[in-house]
Each structure stands twice: as structure tokens, then as C-alpha cells.
């Protein structure tokens, strides 16, 4: 026991708990593609509004579908959609931020004013505009939120590149005759990871919330696909009769977001310790 106590003291609890929480969610999400306890679309009139029990861990909904199975599928959808959103916005952010930050000039000014304009609108509203042009659906949610979240990454990457572009080691790389592309992505980029990683994890949480929000509004993931936000919006009519219907997806969102925040905090602390 004493040994365990000592081990416990040494651990980075943020990292550990964060990993456990997100790990569990991700495993469930991936598992949902292959197996769920019940079919996610199997309806049964006899089983409507069952309270959580051993048979139905999170109970059943108004169609008698197993909520746990649907939450699993919802996690799968949400995690994949959010990851894609982060992937798109972060890579666009790196590209644009690196170029504008390093070269500066008129291009930088113009792009910064555009990002200012994008930032001036609430992200959901802007995504709505994109959706109304492109139509709803998973891929369009990804695209629209990807565009909406890009400016925040541009800003972060740009400011880091501005900070580093005149540093001595970059100056020396230039003297060695290193090409601009190599300076940008091999010399400077690795130096901004620690800052960038924090913004990625925050962005991931925002993406989860935004995706759920859009699905809740009915413009995100379309039925019969399950999504946590969609489930929330479906559940609100039965809040009095079957509170578990709303609680299950809601708490799951909290679980994932909290887990990811802890994970990012844990990574940040670990990086700090290294320095």
C-alpha cells in the first residue's frame, strides 16, 4: 500500500485521469462501429421509456431504443467529426499562420483583417451560413466548422512565427542557405508545438460542443445517425417523463470534454516539467 502511495504521488494525475476518461470514451466510440449491445435503430413499443437498469444501462427512449447503444454511436460520430474539424482547421491554421507570420507584409494585413471579420461573428451563426449554402450533413458540418475554427489557429501560429522569425537561430539558418520552406516547417514549426498542442485540445473541446450544438439545432448530423447533440434535442420533449434520456448524452458530452481538458492540462504540465 505504501508503495502504491509513493507511486501515486509521483504520477501526473491530470494526465492519468484525462487519459482514462478520454480513453474510455474513444474505445466505446470505436467499438460502436462493430458492436453495440442492441441495434441502434431497433425499436420496440413494449420497451418505451424504461428507466436505467442492468438490461438497458442508460434506459430506453421514446421508440424503445437502447440509449447506451445510441450514446456509443453518438460518441463515435462526435469524436470523428470533431477530430476532422480540428484536423482541417489546425492544418489550415498552420499553413496560413506560418506564411503570414513569417513573411508579413500586405498579405498578412489582409488575412488578419479577414480573420478579424470571421472572429466577429458567433461561430454557430457562421457555420449556419455555410450550411445553408452547402446543405446539411456530416461532411458539411465538418467543412463549415473547420472553416469557422481556422482563424483562432491562424492567430496562434502567426504570433509564434512572428516571435521566432527574427530569432538568432532562424537568422543563422538563413545564412546557411536553408530554403524558406525548410525554415518554416523544419526549423520553426517544431518550436511551436507546445503552444499549438494546448490550442488544439481547447479547439477539440470547442468542436465537440459546436457539433453537438449544431446537431441539437437540427442542422448537424441527420437521422438515423445518432449524435449526442441530436439525442439531447430529441430528449427535451420527455424531460419530465424520462430524464435519463437527456442526462445520458448530456453527461457524456461533459465526460468527454472534461477528460480532454484534463488530458491537455496534463500534457502541458509534463512539457513544463521537461523544460
Amino acid at each position: 500500500m505504501k508503495k502504491f502511495g509513493a507511486w501515486f504521488q509521483k504520477q501526473n494525475m491530470y494526465l492519468l485521469v484525462g487519459l482514462l476518461m478520454t480513453g474510455l470514451a474513444v474505445v466505446l466510440g470505436i467499438l460502436s462501429f462493430f458492436w453495440t449491445p442492441y441495434g441502434t435503430t431497433t425499436m420496440s413499443v413494449a420497451e418505451r421509456f424504461h428507466a436505467p437498469s442492468l438490461r438497458h444501462l442508460f434506459g430506453t427512449d421514446n421508440f424503445g431504443r437502447d440509449i447506451f447503444s445510441r450514446v456509443m454511436q453518438g460518441i463515435g460520430t462526435t469524436v470523428i467529426v470533431s477530430s476532422l474539424i480540428v484536423l482541417i482547421s489546425a492544418s489550415a491554421g498552420i499553413l496560413i499562420g506560418a506564411v503570414t507570420g513569417y513573411f508579413g507584409g500586405i498579405l498578412d494585413e489582409v488575412i488578419m483583417r479577414i480573420t478579424d471579420a470571421v472572429n466577429a461573428f458567433p461561430s454557430i451563426l457562421l457555420a449556419l451560413v455555410v450550411i445553408s449554402i452547402l446543405g446539411s450533413g456530416k461532411q458539411n458540418v465538418v467543412l463549415s466548422l473547420g472553416i469557422v475554427f481556422t482563424p483562432s489557429y491562424v492567430r496562434i501560429v502567426r504570433s509564434e512565427f512572428i516571435r521566432l522569425r527574427d530569432s538568432d537561430f532562424v537568422c543563422r539558418a538563413r545564412l546557411m542557405g536553408v530554403s524558406k520552406l525548410r525554415i518554416l516547417f523544419i526549423h520553426i514549426l517544431p518550436n511551436i508545438w507546445s503552444v499549438f498542442w494546448v490550442s488544439v485540445t481547447i479547439g477539440f473541446n470547442n468542436a465537440i460542443l459546436a457539433e453537438s450544438g449544431m446537431s441539437y439545432l437540427g442542422i448537424g448530423v441527420q437521422p438515423p445517425d445518432a449524435s449526442l447533440g441530436k439525442m439531447l434535442s430529441d430528449a427535451q420533449g420527455y424531460l419530465g417523463r424520462a430524464p435519463w434520456y437527456a442526462l445520458a448524452p448530456g453527461l457524456t458530452i461533459v465526460w468527454i470534454v472534461l477528460g480532454f481538458s484534463l488530458l491537455s492540462e496534463g500534457v502541458r504540465r509534463k512539457e513544463e516539467k521537461k523544460k
Binding site: G104, I106, E109, S167, D168, F169, C171, R172, A173, R174, L175, M176, G177, V178, S179, R182, H187, P190, N191, W193, K275
Partner: protein, 565 residues
């Protein structure tokens, strides 16, 4: 006057000051000399009661005039210290940029010392009888102050509120006068103007003078000066040293002078303590220590100080010019980084005209802001806003920077860093491309040349010391065998013993590889040690250029003479 007995201080971990005992006599100037990390600053801060709360005094006692200030195992008595900090002991810090409040006018900051301490201090110094030598200097002043106090009290009761306000005004004027006097006392000629200036409107030297004025305005018994001249230019450094000397003679207070620069300590101090790794390794009168050092470490320190002896031999022959700089003027664009910003061209180098010959070390000496770095950047082609011409007769020159912490990419390993110039060269010019193996071999070879062992190959810069990083920087600059390396203050950020090693390394590598160096420094002694020829620069103009010996023996320009003093 100050007695420190067996003082040990530890932060979390090992002790950084170990069993340090010394005394400072009345009116004495005691120098504490050592390299960075030797514990000299921590000792001073502990004495001043300014060391952070995370430091533990593990043993020892500190006395000020037989008053016990600090004892191990007991928490710092902050109330007691507050009575001593300011009126009885004060401190001058290294960095004049950060030790003044940027949002307060300088006058108000000096005046604050009077507001906080004046009355209490005067009252106390009347109560505690001053010593014999102090009586002479303070007698008139004290009598004066006492008179003022009595008078003030009388009038305050006599004339009521309006009169009291009048009196306040007068008091304010008197305070201002005292501040102005103090500012003049530290050699600030335009005291009135300085009084109304913000710190950023003053130069580094002036700011340091203001700091000194703050420290001495209350005539404290002890002044602690922690590297007060390190951030300043050489000529300003001389002035500050003279000023400290003058104040010491006039006010008869003791001075604890902390420095890494033995030359300064020699010029100023009566006695010197040499510290290493938190221990006092040697102490004695200044001349005794310099003439007859006992400890190994002291000998090493003294021999490492760049002097005007031991110049490199190998007189070069001016055969082939390597870089010809003809009538070069360098400009800077100001305020060009916004959409509608107007650009202002500012000339920082005026009509520079010189030649760097093959295989020589050309020293460039001048104070900060004189255009040395701008000139070097123009030669490297990093600054395009130039007039005149720079002709290179060899491949592209490389550079070694001052700060070893920022000039190496912190995310890469030493091996990667050493190979990068070769990779870049290979991409630029496919005929010079090398195989992975050759590159690695070349990097290993260079690592040995700069005097580091194989095991550093996979380390990152953060795992190296400042001197080691500078070695890697030099290796990185030399690995492509450039004709010219520009070294911009390569040793200024290093400790004196490391400095000597790096200078030695540059000299030996230069002899081995026959690379030319443009060696930039503010320290004329360093320049003397490495250079074949010297160039003196001031305010963007090259004042003098010539053979090292020639310039040192017969300086033509008055500014050069001032530098050589």
C-alpha cells in the same frame, strides 16, 4: 560594521551559499568576485533581506553594527528589516532597465525614498549616537533637520490648517531640492530635466545614476551594488566606477561591490573575496590577491581576465582581399509594418569603407548602438537597405551570435544542428551534396574540433552550458568552411574563464582552418587578444582602423584614447 558568520543558504536542494563568513568595515569597499552561480548575489540578497521566501538560511548569523539582523532557523523579521532597508543599507541592481518603475517619473521615485524613510530615519539617527567619523559629515545636516522639525511642529499648531498647507508646500519644495541635489551629486548635470523624465527617456548610464542617487540619498551606512556596471558600455562603466568611488569618499559609507569582472574589482575595492560554488575560496587585500593569488581557482580567474598581454602571434600577410566594403551606408526602416504606416529611413552606418583580408581576424570595437551589428548584417546581406557595395570573394559568410541560448534551435539535437549547414549546402549546390554517412562523420569531426566529446552528439541545446552552446555555434558556423565568419560579441554572455576558453578556441581554429573572422566586441581587451587589426566605431562611423599594436600604442582618435583608458 557588517558581520556575517557561517552563513549558508539553500533553495530546494543543495546549499548555494556555504559557510560564508566575512566582515565589512566602516567606509570599506569590499569586492565579491566570482562567476555566475557562485552564490555572490544570493549572499548579498540575504544580507539585504531581499532573497525570496523559498530560500532557507540553514546556518549563520548576520549583524549590522552589533544588531542581529538574521539568524538561522528563525524567520526573517520583516519589520526589523524595513527599518534597515533604505536608511541604513541600500542596493543598486544590475539592470537599470527593469529596476526603475517605468510608469513613474524618476524624480518621484527618488522622492519616495524620502517620503518613506526620511522622518523616521532622522529621528532614529538622532537617538542613536552616530560614530565619530560620521559626526563630522552629518553634524550640520542633523542639526538642520532637527531644527526644521521643531519649527514645523510649532508652526503647525500656531497657524492652523491653511498655514499647515503652506508648510506642506514648503516641505514638498524642500524634498524636491534634496532630490535635485542628490541627482546632481551622482553627476546628472540636468537634474531639473531628469526629475521630470520617465525612465525610458534616459540612457542606461543615466538610469544607473538615478538608481545610485536613490541608494545614497538617505546616506545609508552600507550600499550593496550587484553588478552595477555589467549592463553598461565601457566608457559609462568607467564613469559609474568613478562615481561609486567618489560617493564612498564623500559619505564614508561601506560598499559591497559584487562583480564578475576582476579588473573593475581591482580598480575599486580595498579588499576582495573570491567565491566559487558558494564557498569563499580566497580573501585578502586587493593588491595581495592580484600579485600573489593563493588558490588555484583565483589563479585561473586572474589569468583568464583578458589583458593587454599575450596577444596572438602569427602576423598575417595582407595578400588577398576577402570582403571589400566600399562606401557602405546602412539604413533602417521605421514603422513600416502596418498597412498605411509611413516609412522613415534612418541611417545607422555612415560610409563604412574597409577590407577584410584572407586569414585575418579583424576586430570591430564600439559601444552598444554604434552600428556594429547593423554593419555586420549588411555585410551578410541580411539587411537590404544599403548604399555602397560589399564584394565577397568567397562563399557565403556565417555568423556566431552573442546569446548562446537563442542561437541554437532548441528542438534539435547537436548532431542535427551540425549537419544542417551541410544539408542546406547540398540542396543549394548539388555538386557539394554529401551522403548521410559523410555528413555524420563531418559533424563528429567538428564536434571534436570545438573540444567536445562524442556523447554530446545526441544532446539538445537545453542540456548544454552556455560555453558548450557557443562551441556548437562556432562549429556550426565553420562546418561548411566559409571564408568569413562574423562573430558578434561571441563571448560577452559568458563567464570569464569560459570566455578565455572560447577565445582560445577561436584563435586555434582560425590558425587551423585559415578562416577570416570579423570579431565584434565592446570589450577592447578581448579585441586586443584576438585581433590582427582593429576597427573603432562610434555613432555609425568608423573612426579608426589599423594594426592592433599600432592602434593601442598610438591611438589617433580621442574616442579611441577614451576606450583604451
Amino acid at each position: 560594521m557588517i558581520k556575517i558568520e557561517h552563513l549558508s543558504v539553500a533553495f530546494d536542494g543543495p546549499e548555494v551559499v556555504r559557510d560564508v563568513s566575512f566582515t565589512i568595515g566602516d567606509g570599506e569597499i569590499l569586492g565579491v568576485v566570482g562567476e555566475s552561480g557562485s552564490g555572490k548575489s544570493v549572499t548579498a540578497l540575504t544580507l539585504m533581506g531581499l532573497v525570496s521566501e523559498s530560500a532557507h538560511v540553514t546556518s549563520g548569523k548576520i549583524y549590522y553594527d552589533d544588531q542581529l539582523l538574521l539568524e538561522a532557523g528563525k524567520p526573517r523579521d520583516n519589520a526589523l528589516y524595513r527599518e534597515y532597508q533604505g536608511p541604513k543599507m541600500s542596493m543598486v541592481f544590475q539592470e537599470p532597465m527593469t529596476s526603475l518603475n517605468p510608469t513613474m517619473k524618476v524624480g518621484a521615485q527618488v522622492e519616495e525614498m524620502l517620503l518613506l524613510h526620511d522622518r523616521k530615519c532622522l529621528g532614529e539617527s538622532i537617538a542613536s549616537a552616530p560614530k565619530q567619523n560620521e559626526i563630522q559629515t552629518q553634524k550640520g545636516q542633523l542639526a538642520d533637520a532637527e531644527g526644521v522639525k521643531m519649527e514645523e511642529a510649532k508652526t503647525r499648531y500656531a497657524v492652523g490648517f491653511t498655514g499647515w498647507r503652506e508648510e506642506r508646500k514648503k516641505e514638498k519644495a524642500r524634498r524636491k531640492n534634496r532630490v535635485l541635489e542628490a541627482l546632481r551629486g551622482v553627476g546628472l548635470r540636468e537634474a531639473e530635466r531628469v526629475y521630470d523624465c520617465y525612465p525610458h527617456q534616459l540612457s542606461g548610464g543615466m538610469r544607473q545614476r538615478v538608481m545610485i542617487a536613490m541608494a545614497v540619498i538617505l546616506h545609508p551606512g552600507l550600499i550593496v551594488a550587484d553588478e552595477p556596471t555589467t549592463a553598461l558600455d565601457v566608457t559609462v562603466q568607467n564613469q559609474i566606477i568613478e562615481l561609486l568611488k567618489k560617493i564612498n569618499q564623500e559619505q564614508k559609507n561601506s560598499l559591497l561591490f559584487i562583480t564578475h569582472d576582476l579588473n573593475l574589482a581591482r580598480r575599486l575595492c580595498d579588499r576582495i573575496l573570491v567565491m566559487q560554488d558558494g564557498l569563499i575560496v580566497e580573501s585578502g587585500h586587493t593588491e595581495d590577491i592580484f600579485n600573489d593569488p593563493k588558490g588555484e581557482y583565483t589563479k585561473k580567474l586572474i589569468s583568464a581576465v583578458p589583458g593587454r598581454t599575450g596577444k596572438r602571434k602569427s602576423p598575417h600577410e595582407k595578400i588577398r582581399p576577402l570582403v571589400e566594403v566600399r562606401d557602405l551606408s546602412v539604413f533602417y526602416r521605421e514603422n513600416a509594418n502596418s498597412l498605411f504606416g509611413k516609412t522613415v529611413k534612418k541611417c545607422v552606418v555612415h560610409h563604412a569603407d574597409f577590407t577584410v583580408y584572407e586569414g585575418e581576424i579583424l576586430g570591430l570595437v564600439g559601444e552598444s548602438g554604434c552600428g556594429k551589428t547593423s554593419l555586420s548584417k549588411a555585410i551578410l546581406g541580411l539587411n537590404k537597405m544599403t548604399e555602397g557595395s560589399v564584394t565577397h570573394h568567397s562563399n557565403s559568410p556565417q555568423m556566431v551570435f552573442q546569446d548562446p541560448y537563442s542561437s541554437l534551435n532548441p528542438m534539435k539535437t547537436v548532431g542535427w544542428l551540425l549537419q544542417e549547414p551541410l544539408r542546406a549546402q547540398g540542396i543549394l549546390d548539388p555538386s557539394k551534396a554529401m551522403s548521410e554517412k559523410d555528413r555524420e562523420a563531418a559533424a563528429h569531426d567538428m564536434l571534436r574540433k570545438v573540444g567536445m566529446s562524442e556523447k554530446y552528439f545526441t544532446r539538445r541545446p537545453s542540456q548544454l552550458s552556455g560555453g558548450q552552446r557557443q562551441r556548437i555555434s562556432i562549429g556550426q558556423a565553420l562546418i561548411t568552411r566559409p571564408g568569413l565568419v562574423i562573430a558578434d560579441e561571441p563571448v560577452s554572455a559568458l563567464d570569464v574563464t569560459i570566455q578565455a576558453q572560447i577565445l582560445e578556441l577561436i584563435r586555434s581554429l582560425q590558425e587551423e582552418l585559415k578562416t577570416s573572422f570579423l570579431f565584434i566586441s565592446h570589450d577592447i581587451n578581448v579585441i586586443y587578444q584576438v585581433s590582427d587589426r582593429i576597427m573603432v566605431m562610434k555613432d555609425g562611423k568608423i573612426l579608426e582602423i589599423g594594426e592592433t599594436e599600432e592602434v593601442f600604442q598610438h591611438p589617433k582618435d580621442p574616442y579611441t584614447k577614451e576606450l583604451l583608458r
